[in-house]
Symmetry: C2
Subunit: 524 residues, 2 copies
């Protein structure tokens, strides 16, 4: 009896330790990352992602040595952890802190890059690898695998991009690259799910059309869900008047409603990313104005902090996972073939991105030909957009794990190759492209002064949350003057006209119901 | 092939949904609780725990009906979830927001209640149930079970108590009951773990001594770990000077270090509760002064919010779990016997608490006989302390699940009885005692004006964080005058003298190193 009890106790203690040890380790390393990231902040070459990846790999190596070359990672990569806990705060914060003015002004260009771009890029990567992989003596992938491959390596890394570009130095670039990243996230996840469903044996134009309809359906329903959740929160905060004495309830309600919108989207198999992004935009536009000053400060920093910790955690994890020797052991390719595959993927990625950035930029410039020069995408900008979007990150890894492993474990050599491929490409693109982006920007755009503020801080300090959702001073007067011949205007400058009417609608109907300061005519 | 893939996809989707559905449901119900709790805030009878429990039981009933009387709960109670995620923020926030002045002044009394009290109470409950249960025809419990039973029902519910008492209305009562709750938490967990280890067949004075030594060791090491973690954070924040532009890093570091201290304590099998409580005290005393204004506001509200959500979640869960009909089915006792057992436990609980509150209060009054009248515990106070501490909560449930189930599931009738016993006692004590506490206080202490501020808010608004750790104006002048004959003072008024020297030490050595305003002589 005593023996049974002690065994049971040990068993329970063992289970307990199974969770306690990795959490302790991760939290400790996260603290280390924050301190070291702070010390290296002034450094021109490294950014926080690279720091986290390096610290991750060092930790991985230490664990590998301590466990006598058996296991380099403590937690197996869990896409649930990623999709349910880490991604929502990052994307919500992005929506909450984004410069709405820039984002909506460039909306059409962003949609071109984020939707059409992904389709072009996936097509090139899929067909390129389909043609090249057998020539590199790498066989065993199915048609679906190739399609998935194109999607995985078309997912840009929003998180890493944000650490290189600054909203205040290069507002146009930032909004384009960042906006693309968000829409891209949604498109790749939608595409990935669509590929799981379609019958690969019947790839025809009908299937392609089906894909586009699916995408449009998902995009609109996800956005609607996010907007509804945001408006509901704003309405609840305004009518219940939580007021001076209930900051904690207000904050809790905002956090929980944001998360609820994401989980509902996941439940209905929509794109949680899009939902929570638009929920963030609506919340910062309406709900944020209905709460106390303390709640405003707290929510801004809280969301930024959660996003920051989640980002750091992901890169730390990627670094630690890189040394997972089991997967290296299972993949049976020679060193030469492996390197050739990595090089092929990176080459196809660059080609695929070039194939849409330059033509679509030209198209966007053509559409905006009558607008201000500020919104013209110069060739130098195009190069930076192309380059900054080459980084691949956590979404790629999460999708790869979802496709090629079962709960983070794989025994199939081909699958193991795909996992290691993804990890290497992510590591290479983050570290090498990440290293070179800052110098590239200062070379191509010498005017943009280096900013000593940390990224999140500057984002928060500078953005004026009181601006209406779509205000842009430079065009407002013109709009009012031209309002009478609005039909000709709608044809010539569609974005401006839509904005003008949206703002009138916002001031007349939305803000009185959902909160937020009503912009007076003079301040427009 | 296609079938296999679609099956796999379905399987993955099923797994995904297994996590998504309960999370979505819990988050949605949490939102509901916040809104309803806000609407009922002015109500004299209900408090937030009761609201959450009711909403939880209604949700449980709905699920029960929807699942056709099969399962009332979606998540099985997971003590990992409780101990690793929900408890740390509650206790840390308690340490962070506690009125340090009151807490340290009543330190000896609190320790008497929290340590000696638990031993007395457990002893009475254990021996009482040992004697009464067989007479109620309830057999099958081992000696260890009886010992554990005493511990489980000696764990007061800090969370619920806080919702009834207010720091500003009844400062002495609040600090005593709350302080007792924190120390009580630590003592019961320590005692519970100690009981798992001791050999129940050899219960003698040596085993008792061993238990006390174990407790002292755990208490001192846990406290030291928490203080070290807090000081380390303060030192890092001060020397690295994160400064104006890195609020997000500061906040992240404070949150992560607090959590790290808890997890380290769990890893070394210390009392995480004590550790994180003292970490909170040290952080609010030193680290909090080294950060920017935005970080200060954010951390205060963030910690309070996390604690609030965790509390609500726990009560919601208790409410939902109450209807777990499986456990009711397994326990084979008649209705009469069950009620007799509940009544016995509640009676023993009340007796056990009375057996230490009144004698120890008298002892405390005797020790403080020369101090101010403000610190005298009147008989009315004693009644309230006795009554408010009768509520049992999440710690009891967590310990019961840890002892009597295996990962939340039990098949043994006796174990099932113990689980349902605990749930019923917790529900009864929270609802009934909770309902009556507010009226009782206003009857016994009619002077304490009802406070319209919500609990957390008033806690934050009123407390002046700039006060030194142990300042109490009323005694400061006296202290300085008497400093010369400090030996006689140490004998007469030990607490005051220790405080005086501590404050000198704090100003001279601690604050210059770890941060915080140095109190000038005039302000003492």
């Amino acid at each position: 009896m005593a023996v049974v009890v002690s065994e049971l106790t040990e068993n329970v203690a063992g289970e307990h330790a199974q969770l306690v040890i990795p959490i302790t380790l991760f939290v400790a390393v996260l603290c280390l990352c924050i301190v070291i990231g702070h010390l290296l902040q002034e450094n021109q070459w490294v950014n926080e992602s690279i720091t986290a990846i390096f610290i991750g790999s060092i930790t991985g190596t230490v664990i590998l040595i301590l466990s006598k070359w058996k296991s380099s990672h403590i937690l197996t990569f869990n896409e649930e952890l990623f999709f349910i806990y880490l991604l929502p705060p990052i994307i919500f914060n992005a929506g909450f802190q984004v410069k709405k003015k820039q984002f909506f002004h460039n909306f059409l260009t962003i949609m071109l890059f984020g939707v059409v771009g992904v389709f072009i890029s996936s097509l090139i990567i899929t067909s390129g690898s389909w043609w090249l992989f057998p020539r590199l003596k790498f066989h065993g992938l199915t048609a679906r695998d190739y399609l998935v491959l194109g999607t995985i390596f078309s997912a840009t890394d929003t998180v890493c991009t944000l650490q290189v570009l600054h909203q205040d130095e290069t507002p146009l670039l930032y909004s384009l690259v960042f906006g693309e990243g968000v829409v891209n996230d949604a498109t790749t996840v939608v595409l990935f799910n669509a590929i799981q469903k379609i019958d690969v044996t019947k790839l025809n134009s009908k299937a392609g059309l089906r894909l586009i309809v699916d995408f449009l359906y998902l995009f609109s329903t996800s956005t609607a869900l996010g907007v509804t959740a945001g408006l509901l929160t704003a309405y609840a905060l305004k009518t219940l008047y939580f007021g001076r004495h209930a900051s904690i309830r207000e904050i809790a309600l905002m956090v929980l409603m944001a998360y609820l919108s994401y989980m509902l989207a996941e439940l209905f198999e929509l794109s949680g990313i899009l939902t929570v992004f638009f929920c963030g935009i609506v919340m910062s536009h309406y709900a944020w104005h209905n709460v106390t000053d303390s709640s405003r400060i707290t929510t801004r920093y809280l969301f930024a902090m959660m996003s920051f910790v989640a980002e750091t955690f992901i890169f730390l994890y990627v670094g630690m996972d890189a040394l997972d020797i089991e997967k290296w052991r299972i993949s049976k390719l020679s060193f030469g073939t492996s390197v050739a595959i990595y090089a092929t993927i990176i080459l196809l990625m660059s080609l695929g991105r070039a194939a849409f950035v330059f033509p679509l930029s030209a198209l966007s410039n053509y559409m905006n030909r009558r607008a201000d020069r500020t919104y013209k995408i110069t060739f130098r900008h195009q190069v930076i957009i192309w380059w900054a979007g080459l980084m691949r990150g956590a979404v790629s890894i999460a999708l790869a794990f979802k496709q090629y492993t079962f709960s983070g474990v794989t025994m199939d050599p081909t699958d193991a190759v795909m996992i290691t491929n993804t990890i290497i490409v992510v590591l290479f693109s983050t570290v090498v492209f990440g290293f070179l982006t800052k110098p590239l920007i200062s070379y191509l755009l010498p005017n943009s002064a280096p900013n000593n503020l940390s990224r999140e801080e500057s984002k928060i300090l500078k953005e004026d949350m009181n601006l209406p959702l779509l205000s842009f001073e430079e065009s407002a007067t013109t709009n009012i003057l031209r309002a009478k011949d609005s039909l000709s205007m709608l044809i010539e400058r569609p974005v401006y006209t839509i904005h003008y009417y949206w703002r009138r609608f916002d001031d007349a109907y939305m803000r009185p119901i959902f909160g937020g300061p009503i912009s007076s005519s003079s301040s427009r």
